[in-house]
């Protein structure tokens, strides 16, 4: 259960990062975003990943927190890829 909230934020982070990339904007927002908005998405994505790390580190300490953070980030990225692949196939 401890992984659910960080995982949800990690997914949000990777979706934001994907939205910041031109090739995925069509799938997620239906149009190309202007550069300032893309940059905002990129910064938000990285910030959210930072938030996930902060939560894990606060709950589990910096060492175990970092390890768990990497695992959750991988999982979040996987689920994001699955979502993108599924959306692109439709």
């Amino acid at each position: 259960m401890i992984h659910l909230l960080p995982l949800a934020i990690a997914i949000a982070a990777f979706v934001a990062l994907a939205v910041s990339m031109k090739r995925h904007q069509r799938d997620f927002v239906g149009r190309l975003l202007p550069e300032p908005q893309a940059r905002l998405a990129r910064v938000t994505g990285w910030l959210l990943l930072g938030v996930v790390w902060a939560i894990d580190a606060a709950l589990l300490g910096p060492a175990m927190g970092t390890l768990v953070w990497i695992g959750e980030a991988s999982m979040g990225a996987w689920l994001t890829v699955a979502a993108i692949t599924w959306k692109a196939a439709r």
Partner: protein, 519 residues
């Protein structure tokens, strides 16, 4: 210059990856399974139920050892961790003759009764196979595995340079596009768990570093044993006094040691000269209780049960090694993190497998005559089938053998393992004699069918099938069966894809052949 570097890295990546890819695939697959080795063992011993308390298990072990080997030179007790239920004991008999392994070890339940119903090496075999292999001397195997891990490290680093677009293509996974899809799968599985792959490869080397590079110790210590005594606190054993004094209560000592470590579990106990006035009891902390795999230990006087010494793993180098081994084995991981480890491992297995397939997919298009590839191509293609579909079928056969071999069979545990390699060999041979594209579809379907058969056979041969396990909330058994079904679905899907790809290649080849004939 930049392109030159990339080209040389691509060459390095392709060939280092290919050369060790088959071995690496087996290491990744069985190593990933090893994250659940205790659960696999429990599934393979369906007669054993319930959890086990460390103190009670220690008392049970002593009761057993007192009946079979009261005058042994030493006893070794490996207590169950929180996910296991059985105690492993070994003893060194008092006589001069070094006894055979099977006669001086036993597997016990919590109350000290030997478990004889179903002889198996369980998940522990898959764990050992991922670095000791089988049917060969352990030393050779470990050197082979070390070379493979070293190449893996090279392949990861050169891969990051070769597949220059992995970060730009971070989220790209396109299906049904032939070579492009294989490249996507290889890239995505690599990049999404890149920290894991780097960590697992590097720390894997660290676990055996002292064996690969013994010179540091050789230059500074008289022998490896002196080194271990100095650093890990293994104390020298005293001579037996010859005066018989029964061993003090081991359960109390286990609780004392645990209290000394803020409630962390005791993992391993060794007792020298049991039932002698000079008996000595050494206990070390369970690897699962903290990040570092090597931990604290305490010593008791066996006759009185009084603590005589305590030792902590100290020093920066030892702490680093201890944490790296801990990171690799993930023994401390609870459920959530354990699944993350497992899924990352599956990703790594797919990465290696897709890389192997990619080698052939890339070259098939460039073959002068795709219908009659040259020997090297054929060899790689056939070995890929044997390594990927063969190993999968082999592991499924290992689980099936556990349920289907007669319980009273001699050397049953070894026969289970033989079943795994026989199935592996059979699939390998099958892949050799069939046309390659058809062989992929058939062997993958076979692997899927074998995995699908596991829950069925389990339900028919034990009372702990999927439905009763789910109703009883037994997640170890239910989870095992569900993972088998998921693997079955994965392999059947892969087989269907392979069959479809074969049909497409066939269609494409037909017009080009016609064109070639007409021109």
């Amino acid at each position: 210059m930049k392109d030159g570097l990339r080209q040389s890295m691509a060459l390095l990546h392709t060939w280092s990856g290919l050369l060790i890819g088959w071995l690496l695939f087996a290491m990744f697959a069985t190593g990933t399974a090893a994250y659940f080795q205790d659960e696999i063992t429990r599934w393979m011993q369906p007669e054993v139920t319930g959890p086990a308390d460390p103190a009670a298990s220690a008392q049970g072990a002593v009761r057993f050892l007192n009946t079979v080997a009261p005058d042994a030179k030493s006893w070794y007790i490996s207590l169950p961790n929180s996910r296991a239920a059985t105690t492993q004991v070994y003893w060194q008999p008092g006589g001069e003759r070094p006894a055979k392994r099977g006669e001086t070890s036993a597997l016990l339940d919590q109350s000290g009764h030997e478990i004889t119903t179903r002889e198996t090496r369980g998940g522990f075999f898959l764990y050992r196979f991922h670095f000791d292999l089988h049917y060969m001397p352990v030393l050779w195997a470990r050197y082979l595995v070390g070379i493979a891990a070293m190449f893996m490290l090279v392949a990861i680093l050169s891969g990051v340079i070769t597949h220059k677009k992995i970060f730009a293509d971070f989220f790209m996974l396109r299906f049904g596009k032939g070579q492009r899809s294989w490249l996507d799968a290889h890239n995505v599985t690599a990049v999404l768990a890149l920290p894991f792959h780097l960590m697992i490869t590097f720390t894997g080397l660290v676990t055996l570093a002292v064996m690969y590079m013994p010179w540091g110790i050789a230059a500074n210590y008289a022998s490896q044993d002196t080194f271990y005594e100095t650093f890990l606190g293994r104390s020298e054993t005293a001579e037996a006094s010859g005066k018989t004094v029964p061993l003090a209560d081991l359960g109390t000592m286990v609780r004392t040691a645990s209290a000394q470590w803020q409630g962390r579990r005791v993992g391993y106990i060794s007792i020298s000269n049991p039932n002698d006035a000079a008996a000595q009891v050494d206990m070390s902390r369970a690897p699962e209780a903290a990040f570092g795999a090597r931990g604290e230990s305490v010593t008791f006087a066996g006759a009185t049960g009084r603590m005589t010494g305590a030792h902590d793993a100290t020093g920066a180098a030892l702490a680093t090694e201890s944490v790296m081994i801990g990171l690799h084995t993930g023994r401390f991981a609870r459920w959530g993190l354990r699944w993350l480890y497992f899924l990352s491992g599956i990703g790594g297995t797919i990465m290696v497998g897709s890389g192997l397939v990619l080698w052939t997919v890339k070259r098939r298009a460039r073959l002068p005559d795709p219908a009659r590839p040259h020997f090297g191509f054929l060899l790689v293609e056939r070995l890929n089938i044997a390594a990927i579909a063969g190993l999968a079928t082999g592991i499924a056969a290992y689980f099936l053998a556990n349920r289907l071999l007669p319980l009273e069979m001699a050397d049953r545990a070894e026969r289970e393992i033989d079943c795994m390699f026989l199935a592996w060999l059979a699939v390998g041979l099958w892949g050799m004699v069939r046309p390659a594209a058809r062989a992929w579809a058939e062997t993958l379907a076979l692997a899927g069918a074998c995995f699908a058969a596991i829950p069925v056979v389990n339900a028919l041969t034990t009372g702990r099938g999927l439905v009763p396990s789910l109703l009883a909330g037994d997640w170890t058994f239910a989870g095992f069966d569900l993972v088998m079904l998921a693997l079955a679905a994965g392999f059947v899907l892969a087989s269907a894809k392979a069959a479809k790809a074969r049909a497409r290649v066939g269609n494409r080849r037909a017009p080009s052949a016609r064109r070639a004939a007409s021109s």
